[in-house]
């Protein structure tokens, strides 16, 4: 586990450098880095309310990050987390609304499961293309994001649009109350989806470390030829991994709908870059499920803190983007270097 410690050290170093670069930008803008970071701290984790807000933002980031990270662990560059999440969110909202007349528990289960299945389907499609047609998955997953986003926009704006309130927004009807996750800290947005964000990393860790399927997946990620020679069925493993990865991304969408928006709201995922923050969190965590929880929360807190920063000081919100960009650049370089070293 020496290597894991090393990876944690590297991640912390990346964060420290990013904060230092951010401080430099604040200095150039003729402001005090200390004040800026203090405001960032206060508005992200400095109060119960801020903490709850950060945690709420973190929930879908963590879960979608886990999903994408799972595929990366197996050597499959699933860049389609965004599309899979959108499909999951839309499906949960639509199924939840359509089945509102059924008993609450049944509606709940069916809505969540269908959200996961929609995400899985959106991920299995490129997996099948890769396996049977040799179309690179890294390209198709990325392109399917646009297809998924535009499809959802169309559906939310026309056939599935909520006509009841006379709203001009592209959104679907509100989901039944049985599907709305309860708030767990009063007077804050923090909802019971937190438990999913805590349990999902443990579940993924269990899958990878304690099951033979997870073993086959990890070995495929470490050396695909080795796994194949040992009898791991490669096509099946690729499709299964992408299904699980997409299901987690779909779950992230379902949690967003059930905990925050209570309906599918157009552009509630693309603009906040939730899926990409999730991938960044996963990369920063070295694709380790438990560390993804920590890094996901960190990136969410940065985003929450950004708005408070802008209110309290003259430093613009963009400081947060600078910090995030530096972190991502460094993590990407580390992964690239690691790959080069491994290839020798």
């Amino acid at each position: 586990m020496r290597d894991r410690g090393f990876a944690v050290g590297e991640a912390l170093l990346a964060v420290a450098i990013a904060l230092a670069v951010g401080a430099l930008f604040v200095l150039i803008a003729d402001d005090s880095p200390a004040t800026a970071y203090e405001a960032l701290w206060t508005s992200s984790v400095g109060s119960t309310n801020a903490l709850a807000q950060s945690m709420t933002t973190a929930i879908p980031i963590i879960v979608v990050g886990l999903g994408m990270g799972l595929a990366f662990r197996v050597g499959l560059f699933n860049l389609g987390g965004e599309g899979q999440m959108i499909l999951g969110a839309l499906t949960t909202a639509v199924v939840g609304h359509a089945l509102a007349s059924l008993p609450g528990a049944i509606t709940f289960v069916l809505a969540v499961v269908s959200g996961c299945l929609a995400g899985a389907a959106w991920a299995v499609l490129p997996a099948l293309w890769e396996v049977f047609l040799r179309v690179p998955l890294v390209v198709t997953t990325l392109l399917l994001n646009y297809v998924g986003a535009l499809l959802a926009t169309y559906l939310a704006a026309y056939p599935l649009r909520d006509e009841s309130g006379g709203s001009t927004l592209a959104q679907t009807a509100e989901i039944p109350s049985a599907l709305q996750l309860p708030i767990i800290v009063p007077n804050t947005p923090l909802h019971a989806g937190l438990f999913a964000a805590v349990l999902a990393p443990l579940g993924v860790l269990w899958l990878l470390q304690r099951t033979s399927l997870g073993y086959a997946m990890r070995m495929t990620g470490l050396n695909r030829d080795f796994a194949e020679t040992g009898g791991v069925p490669m096509k099946r493993t690729i499709v299964t991994t992408m299904a699980l990865s997409g299901a987690l991304c779909g779950l992230a969408g379902a949690l967003l709908v059930m905990g925050q928006t209570y309906r599918y709201l157009d552009d509630s995922i693309v603009s906040p870059q939730t899926a990409w923050s999730g991938l960044a969190a996963s990369m920063l965590a070295g694709f380790h499920p438990l560390f993804t929880f920590v890094s996901g929360f960190f990136l969410a807190a940065l985003q929450t803190g950004g708005s408070g920063l802008q209110l309290a000081t003259n430093v613009p919100l963009q400081l947060v983007n600078v910090i995030q960009a530096v972190i991502i650049a460094m993590v990407a370089v580390r992964l690239w270097l690691g790959r080069r070293v491994l290839r020798r």
């Binding site: 304690r210 033979s212 997870g214 050396n223 194949e228 020679t229 009898g231 791991v232 069925p233």
Partner: protein
Amino acid sequence: MIALEGIVKRFGALTALDGVDLTVERGTVHAVVGENGAGKTTLMGVLGGIVAADAGTVSLDGEPVRIASVEDAYAHGIGMVHQHFRLFRRLTVAENVVMGREPRRRGGYDHAAAEALVDELGRAHGLRVDPRARVGELSVGDQQRVELLRALHRAADVLILDEPTAVLTPQEAEGLFGVMRELAGQGRTVLFISHKLREVLTVSDTVTVLRRGSVTGVRRASETDERELAGLMVGRAIESAYQAPDTPAGEPVLRLEALTARGLKPLDLEVSAGEIVGVAGVAGNGQTELAEAIAGLRPREGGTLTIAGRALSDATVAQRREAGLAHIPEDRYARGLAREATIAENLLMGTHRRRFRLDRRAMNARARELVEAFDVRAGDVGDRAATLSGGNAQKLVIARELAGEPAVVLACQPTRGVDIGAAEFVHAQLRAARDRGAGVLLISADLDELLALADRIVVLYEGALVGESRDEAELGLLMAGAHA
């Protein structure tokens, strides 16, 4: 005369060289042999200015000299050619050779002069390479010629070659030996590191044997043999003679009938229980393809394959393993193991499917047993496989594949790049597998290995089986494509 006396080198707690003396006559080819880790490369590094000795002296023709850097070594006419080439793949042959010693004209690099110089150098030493060719496009043998030319361009008196034949085909190695003899004939000195005793005896005048950092013997090549040298290298007698099985071969356990795949002509081959069938051939004549077709990694184009009585022509890898096939892949780091996975995880591969839950305690316990039984020198079964030396990594693969008492063992280049001790162990394991009734198909580029192990030897040439023999001369002809 080149003399190293009392050379000591320690790396932390490890004593790599413990008072080594080496005397080399000018104008000779002198081999330094020993197992991996015996200190051969370290000793040559001291002479080449790469390793700083902790004690001891180096003298050239009676004059003590101080060689503190590679530049010092060049100044004394000593150049080293490394096992792993240090060439710029995108530059031309001429540019690589003159790098750092470029001919100049009007303050700039003189292309024409460099090319003429390299051409001249190649002609003088029988190392013909096109000076304008890009190094990345050359064969491995030609790349080595470039390395040699570079060393000759800088320092022509003493050449150190570190395992020069490791990457060469037999024909390329032959060519290199000719060049070495010729250089010695011109009065230059060639120091040659190797652990292939047959080639050492072919090309060198004198042999110094190292074992664990000490010299265990100095012999004239004409007055010794492989057996004596091997004994000096490992400190005991080596059993390499062929041992026939005690019982005759039984029923066929592996049968190929007109089996074809991409790169293979239709092949008919039978391996019976209790026999080792060797597949000889020059590398690149279909060995990889044959192994992959049997293992289930290369789709069949025709014919049938039977393993332990079961028709498995189109079976998956897992189904073949289920039927009793074990596969020791030719490149252990490419297919044999995952370097970043733990030793225990590497040992689990293939048997992990039994239950959905993965019992880590059972996995580690079994790994400890296998590591013990197969003498894998490892720290802990939780350490990464990358921490193992080449020989131990191979033992790890052997342990995993032979542990389940397979009916058929497909062993590909099982001792490539491992030292004599580990090779002897691998051979003993394959013989033991045969003696308990397994059918072994041994694919090897090492004819000595095949002659020592195999009960029958067939020859693969351009993807076809062209004959069977146990006679070395006849095998050589078959391998060269002369149909018997």
